[in-house]
């Protein structure tokens, strides 16, 4: 049946189904139980599934990940929440040295079906360390998968696909889109495999590649550009590692132009990989270099400046214009 849900609600619904469908699934994190999470994403789950399956943990992210790894060894499917992007670095070693490598080093004997839920990105006027975009760190780390929904429907399905996956998945939740609403058919099959990208708007002039919180911005930019007669094709990556480069390349080979947009610093951000990759596979099709628009190479600024750090509709269109000018 279909319900109108926020992205936060859709993730909650997805988690609930995962808990119902597999007794080995459990959630762990800070304030996820009685409080239901600082964003209420786990609201009501501890009440319904108990303290052994929805675990309020001590304030120690490294051990949240370490314990999740141990539970996975024991046959569980832990979903570990790290409360905010800026606090995942404390757990970086367990993620990069242990979680990501366990399957390879055990020659496949030890599976790591661990999902790491991480609210990320800026735009909510938060204090320091609450607006980080760490996706490139994880995407560069072999052994991990990285996915991020841009809307409630994808959020509902992707979180379940991530939990069902036998590999560790970093599930990035665009916190400034938590309250975006959409109709979610909870009985429907997932519309796409977990690692596939989606063309969310078609256009013949230029391909605009983005993900997570920037998808809405880019679709709005496309609408605005359409008024000036520029047809932008918008690709929502959904999966950052691996990348569905075929879908991107197919679009670029028809438009001949490509702009990539994200909140993270451009330098070595996802856009770098996409630009390098597209430039190679679409070398003869490109009429302009792949242009990147994103954060600057500065620490995330105080929130009164974030509208400058975050690419908005105008900066995206500026990049599109520059691409069209070639």
């Amino acid at each position: 049946m279909t319900e109108t849900m926020t992205m936060a609600g859709a993730i909650n619904a997805g988690l609930r189904l995962a808990l119902e469908n597999d007794p080995k699934t459990l959630l762990m994190g800070e304030d996820i139980g009685r409080l239901g999470g600082v964003f209420r994403v786990t609201d009501g789950l501890q009440k319904d599934f108990g303290e052994q399956r929805v675990i309020d943990t001590p304030l120690a992210e490294s051990s949240i990940l370490g314990a999740a790894i141990g539970m996975a060894m024991r046959g569980y499917r832990p979903v570990a929440e790290v409360q905010f992007d800026g606090f995942v670095y404390v757990a970086f070693d367990q993620i990069v040295s242990q979680l990501a490598k366990m399957h390879a080093r055990s020659s496949g004997l030890v599976k790591m079906p661990v999902t790491v839920r991480l609210p990320y990105g800026g735009g909510i006027g938060a204090v320091e360390h609450h607006s980080e975009s760490p996706e490139a760190y994880f995407a560069h780390t072999a052994g991990l998968r990285v996915v991020t929904p841009s809307n409630p429907v994808d959020a509902f399905h992707l979180v379940q696909q991530a939990i069902a996956c036998d590999d560790p998945v970093i599930f990035l939740e665009p916190k400034r889109r938590y309250w975006d609403k959409a109709d979610v058919d909870m009985s429907a099959e997932p519309p796409l495999p977990m690692s596939s990208a989606r063309v969310v708007r078609q256009g013949a002039d230029v391909t605009l590649v983005t993900y997570g919180p920037m998808v809405r911005t880019c679709v709005e930019a496309a609408s605005a550009a359409a008024l000036d007669g520029c047809e932008i094709e918008v690709v929502d990556l959904r999966s950052l590692a691996p990348l569905d480069i075929d879908t991107v390349a197919q679009s670029v080979s028809s438009t001949g132009r490509c702009v990539v947009a994200h909140e993270a610093s451009v330098f070595l951000g996802l856009a770098a990989e996409i630009a390098a990759n597209v430039a190679e596979v679409c070398f003869y099709d490109l009429e302009a270099p792949v242009l990147r628009v994103g954060g600057f190479h500065t620490p995330y600024p105080p929130s009164r400046l974030e509208q400058h750090f975050l690419p908005d509709l105008d900066r995206v269109l500026d990049a599109v214009d520059r691409a069209m000018a070639y």
Binding site: R34, G125, E128, F296
Partner: protein, 364 residues
């Protein structure tokens, strides 16, 4: 002072009862003048007023967030007043009372929560480091700073603040090890306000927190965190022994977070009003007020003047907050690095050109 690892129980140090009765403690004698007593009370009142005003400003949309210290005034003023020039305090994000004692203008704190800055004051000038939001990160830094004091053979100490929840972080426990191994002049001041957002103390430990020190070989002691005299006396004692080379100590200030975790928190989801009520009877200000009264150290004029002063302060904060200048876009680029950085400079130029393309209005 011997390591109290054989302490039979976990009673705390209290020098002033909730009813305002003075108790003597031979381990922690406190010589204090009447003026000091009055000024301690003044600090408590003004700090609470800063907190109340900031909370109100957040409600009015002038601040994005505020982390209330309500209920923790005594712990913070007691510790803050024990610090001397040359000492360095390492706060979390809730040490507004310590900031006050270190001479940091409350407006600087408000700027932080308004989003006009991520810093706001000169740590070295105030002996007060920047706020730290990543739980526990400041602890190893405080130990490193204390090791620097040691190298400099300076007669000072560092004091690092953290909460009951923070006590679970690896960095906090590592800092206990370093402080002990290097015998660093650092005092760990843990405000156990019973909550880490929605998680009660039992999620972090199953024994009293001050006993954590027993596992690392230095003194741990619990004080009544709502008793400013006890907090002052014990902090002075531990800081002095640290300055004298006797090494680190852990002080657990047993108190309670009377307000929400922050203005975006809703404590009714996870705790009972009755608990809060019980703690209201141990209010850190009331006991000092009644003590001053009983001792006839104050008259009505004193309270009237203090109220007036608090009112003026509140007024200044209200106006000052609204008048806080927004940072310039250039700051973002200029302060990213201390030395020239080709990439940042290019981005700065390009973005300036981009903004110039708009009617000046786009530039905030």
């Amino acid at each position: 002072m011997a390591i109290p690892s054989h302490a039979p129980d976990d009673r705390f140090v209290q020098l002033l009862t909730p009813e305002g009765e003075r108790i003597d403690n031979s381990d922690f004698p406190l010589e204090i003048t009447d003026d000091e007593l009055r000024s301690l009370y003044r600090d408590l009142v003004l700090v609470r007023r800063v907190d109340a005003e900031a909370t109100a400003l957040q409600r009015q949309g002038e601040l994005g967030l505020w982390a209330q210290l309500l209920g923790q005034e005594a712990a913070q003023v007691g510790a803050g007043r024990a610090l001397v020039a040359g000492d360095m305090a390492f706060p979390t994000y809730r040490e507004h009372g310590v900031a006050w004692c270190r001479g940091v203008d409350p407006l600087a704190l408000l700027g932080l929560f308004r989003g006009t800055t991520n810093g706001g004051w000169d740590p070295e000038a105030h002996g007060f480091a920047l706020y730290t939001i990543v739980i526990g990160d400041q602890c190893p830094q405080a130990v490193g700073y204390a090791m620097g004091i040691q190298n400099d053979e300076a007669d000072n100490a560092a004091m690092v603040f953290f909460g009951d929840g923070a006590s679970s972080q690896g960095d906090v426990n590592e800092s206990f090890i370093w402080a002990s191994v290097f015998n660093a002049p650092v005092v760990f001041f843990c405000q156990n306000n019973q909550w880490a957002i929605s998680e009660p103390l039992e999620r972090q430990t199953r024994i009293p927190l001050f006993q954590r020190a027993w596992g690392f070989g230095f003194p741990g002691i619990r004080v009544d965190g709502n008793d400013v005299l006890a907090c002052l006396a014990v902090s002075r004692h531990m800081l002095q022994r640290a300055r004298e080379g006797a090494g680190p100590a852990l002080i657990e200030a047993f108190t309670y977070r009377m307000g929400a975790h922050t203005t975006s928190d809703d404590p009714t989801r996870y705790r009972l009003d009755s608990d809060v009520e019980a703690w209201r009877l141990r209010d850190p200000l009331e006991r000092v007020r009644s003590f001053l009264h009983k001792q006839q150290l104050v008259d009505d004029a004193f309270f009237d003047e203090l109220d007036a002063e608090a009112e003026q302060l509140a007024e200044r904060l209200r106006e000052g907050t609204r008048a806080l200048p927004n940072p310039s876009v250039d700051d973002m680029f200029v302060h990213a690095y201390a030395e020239p950085h080709s990439l940042v400079e290019r981005q700065r130029r390009e973005y300036a050109d981009y903004l110039a393309g708009f009617s000046g209005g786009a530039e905030s």
